[in-house]
């Protein structure tokens, strides 16, 4: 899951609602089928609901250091 920095939102030390805002802003810049990576220390279930409603797919992986790496397809 190596993603370029310009397609990555590293929200691990951000306060709510910044992770959500940053993710939605990046999704706005992507074309359909393009992917982005969200890094967070929790699973963002509320974001998942919004992604689901908007027709995005995502795959989540928990890394050893406690980071959830979430690959979202626009």
């Amino acid at each position: 899951m190596d993603f370029p920095a310009e397609r990555t939102v590293d929200a691990r030390f951000m306060e709510p609602p910044q992770p959500f805002v940053a993710t939605m802003e990046m999704l706005d810049t992507l074309q359909p089928g393009e992917e982005m990576l969200l890094l967070l220390f929790r699973e963002p279930h509320p974001l998942y609901r919004v992604l689901q409603k908007n027709g995005h797919n995502w795959v989540s992986e928990l890394r050893a250091d406690g980071t959830f790496a979430i690959r979202i397809t626009c």
Partner: protein, 432 residues
């Protein structure tokens, strides 16, 4: 953007608020009981007053807040949606409170009628809650340690309830029962299983989120709930079939696992990026060190079993875990959750272009600080009462009453201010 925490799909703020506003009153009741019956409380953990006091704190305060918070946060932490949350709260809240009050009266008066009533109310409250949250949780896959932890914690709650109701019926009906063995297991499943695993499962999310710390290492987060559950199972089997070495191994495993989690949390907090030390952080630090002290006592008892023979030993251990640890941790959490929920509701209601008031206008940090100082004083008072019960139970009881009253006042004040801002939002034109 407000969908961030999915509270639109969650229950309205009044649902958890009724639990949060009722809980501090049990601290007040516990303080009153301590002031009047304190010498009996400190005489032995088995006196009616000690049993009543324990359950006013563990059910009336702790469980009450945990249930209210779970109804609100299960969608956020686990993506699990409870069926009919308003109806659930409308059943669970009154049944739980009638159950706790009946239980305390049953213990204090030794009256079987109150004990039967408590059993009925508590089975309704907790049976309905376990069924509803179990249904919601087992429909979601365990994709994170938090979800796995919540499921395991719920199983531990079920075992706690079954063992508690069994003992209650045995006491009321005069059945023969090896009370101390079952009571130890009941306390172990309630405090070590349900409470510790639940707090850990929630801490995995809220410690990094509120304190801006790194996340819990994945291996620790996955294994902590499983190891605690395993330790409690081994302890139960050992105790019920009379294999003492198994009980010892299980208790050592429980102490080491819990100690590992506490130390990991302290280390994470050292790496936090939020420089400001707020009331929640100070409550959590107090809780972590109190639990660490209790675990050290438990280990010492493992090495020198004679320590456990002193009547005062398990009392201090219980005080450290319940009041020093769990009550402090939960109160600290409350100071984050309540202003946030109220603020979030206002944000959803406020007209576009009119931001909601800052969170500290609902509950000022200095107000929470005064209550924290009362809590510190109450802790000191209890320690003094443990050493000199005859002289100190009344001051300690009064300090607990003030701590509970301070918390109640702070929460009511926040709700009152919320009401004012909400009326203002109506005047300004709520968002459609």
């Amino acid at each position: 953007m407000q969908a961030l925490l999915a509270f639109e799909q969650g229950p309205p703020v009044a649902v958890p608020a009724r639990f949060f506003l009722t809980a501090p009153l049990y601290l007040v009741l516990a303080g009153v009981l301590l002031a009047f019956e304190g010498q009996a409380v400190f005489a032995s953990r088995w006196t009616p007053a000690a049993l009543a006091l324990t359950h006013l704190l563990t059910l009336g305060f702790m469980l009450q807040i945990m249930l209210g918070a779970l109804i609100q946060i299960l969608p956020v932490v686990a993506g699990a949606h409870l069926p009919q949350p308003r109806l659930l709260a409308a059943v669970v809240h009154p049944a739980l409170n009638l159950g706790v009050l009946s239980l305390a009266l049953g213990f204090l008066q030794g009256a079987s009628t109150w004990m039967y009533a408590a059993a009925v109310f508590l089975v309704i409250a907790l049976g309905v809650f376990i069924a509803a949250s179990g249904w919601a949780l087992w429909r979601v896959p365990s994709t994170s340690p938090s979800i796995r932890g919540l499921k395991i914690a719920l199983l531990a709650l079920l075992i706690t309830v079954v063992s508690g109701v069994y003992m209650l019926l045995a006491l009321a009906g005069g059945w023969p029962l090896v009370l101390d063995r079952v009571a130890n297991l009941h306390a172990g499943w309630g405090l070590g299983g349900w409470t510790a695993i639940l707090l850990a499962a929630v801490a995995y999310v809220v410690v990094p989120m509120f304190q801006l710390t790194p996340g819990y290492p994945a291996r620790l987060a996955w294994w902590f709930p499983r190891l605690v559950f395993l330790a409690l199972l081994l302890w139960s089997v050992g105790a019920l079939v009379g294999v003492e070495w198994l009980v010892t191994v299980a208790r050592v495993l429980l102490v080491l696992t819990t100690g590992g989690f506490v130390i990991a949390t302290l280390l994470l907090q050292k790496k936090r990026r939020r420089a400001r030390v707020d009331v929640t952080f100070r409550y959590w630090q107090f809780a972590l060190y109190a639990v660490l002290a209790a675990l050290t006592m438990a280990l010492a008892e493992g090495v020198w079993p004679a320590l456990g023979e002193f009547k005062a030993w398990p009392l201090l251990l219980g005080l450290l875990v319940v009041l020093g640890g769990d009550v402090a941790f939960i109160t600290g959490m409350l100071y984050k959750i309540v202003p946030f929920l109220l603020w979030f509701d206002l944000q959803n209601r406020s007209a576009i272009g009119q931001p909601p008031p800052a969170m500290n206008r609902l509950l000022a940090e200095v107000e929470a600080e005064y209550q924290l100082y009362l809590f510190y004083l109450a802790g000191g008072g209890l320690l003094a009462a443990w050493i000199w019960p005859a002289a100190m139970v009344i001051p300690a009881g009064v300090l607990i009453v003030l701590t509970g009253a301070g918390l109640f006042l702070n929460l009511v004040r926040a709700c009152w201010r919320y009401r004012g801002f909400r009326l203002q939002a109506v005047v300004n034109g709520e968002r459609a």
